[in-house]
Amino acid sequence: MNDARCEEYHELVSAFVDERLDGPDLLRLETHLEACGGCRTFERELRHFKELLPAVEAFRTLRRPPAGFAALVAARAVREQGALTVPFPAARARGRWVGMVAAAAAAALFFAWSWQRLLPVGSPEQKFAARSFSPGVEVAEAGSMDTWMREHAMLARESTLLGHAEEAEFASFNAGAVAGR
């Protein structure tokens, strides 16, 4: 599907995901989605993103009003002509905002999607797995350029994590020796 045309559908997808599309627009979009994989992907990602925002926020403690806020503010409001400046209490309560249900739902959602937490780099399973940097590239036989590239890049990456630029350079240069060649 033509990318430029799909741009105009993207805003429709946004409204669609909010269940705010109806009539001829809805029909137009549904017809388009049947035919266009790119826009279907866009819709999927947008739904994901729409759920993501509150899920991410749910793990971030938002500040709650400090104890006594209401009394303080009401007093100040009623006496606002007056001289009293009512200071905030020094200790600010930082309770968790998220209600239990929201938190549980957010937790389930959060862990349901996305990344593997700590995939050990360079583990035996990983060594020449297809997970590596060129998706779809088959593991080539020893001596081929693909293997060479992967060895170098993976080793350089491990070295970059572990050490500094010099370590990565050195490791790259010795990738063959590391691999036992």
């Binding site: 990602e45 209401a70 349901a112």
Partner: protein, 206 residues
Amino acid sequence: MSVTNDVPGSGAGDGERQLVEAARRGDERAFEALVLKYQDRIYRLIQRLVSGSDVIDDLAQEVFIRAYRSLGDFKGESSLYTWLYKIALNLCRNHYRTRGRRPAHEELDEADGAVGMEAAGGTPEDEVFRREFWDHLRLGLDELPAEQREAVVFCDLEGMSYEEMAGVIGVPIGTVRSRIFRGRRALQERLAPFHAARAGAQGRAT
């Protein structure tokens, strides 16, 4: 997933009307009860629109002070919550207009609250990841044009409908829709590295 536990406007029954009446007459206790009812939501809204922990308390106070001052103008056409919302929105807008654009990354401030881990569990690395995700979301929101930030916050964080948003912001629904779309698009781009999915993993049936 809607995050608000209350639909704006709910709970506005006779009880609330009486409180408003009493508060108008200077009843401090009545006004305190109203503040208590809405303080959490107002705090949340302000934190979503404005970054920087130093100003939250001041802005929140100011919302209710202003509300008290203009309680006489509140005629009950909208819900009290929507009315408070508009006050909060105006104050936040004044705030980010006068403050100007903050340089990026100034919000990497550990004082900005701790990550609530109890609900989630996970390793220390998970905690760091989530914090970074949030920090970059926060930065992304800060860098959005104000009207797109408001649209995304109201729709995706506050869970408001397009009508409610149109009412609070005072623009047509078509404008609301367009702002939501553009805000989401910009944020999605910025946050894409955080939720890049493996091919085939997390696929949702369409």
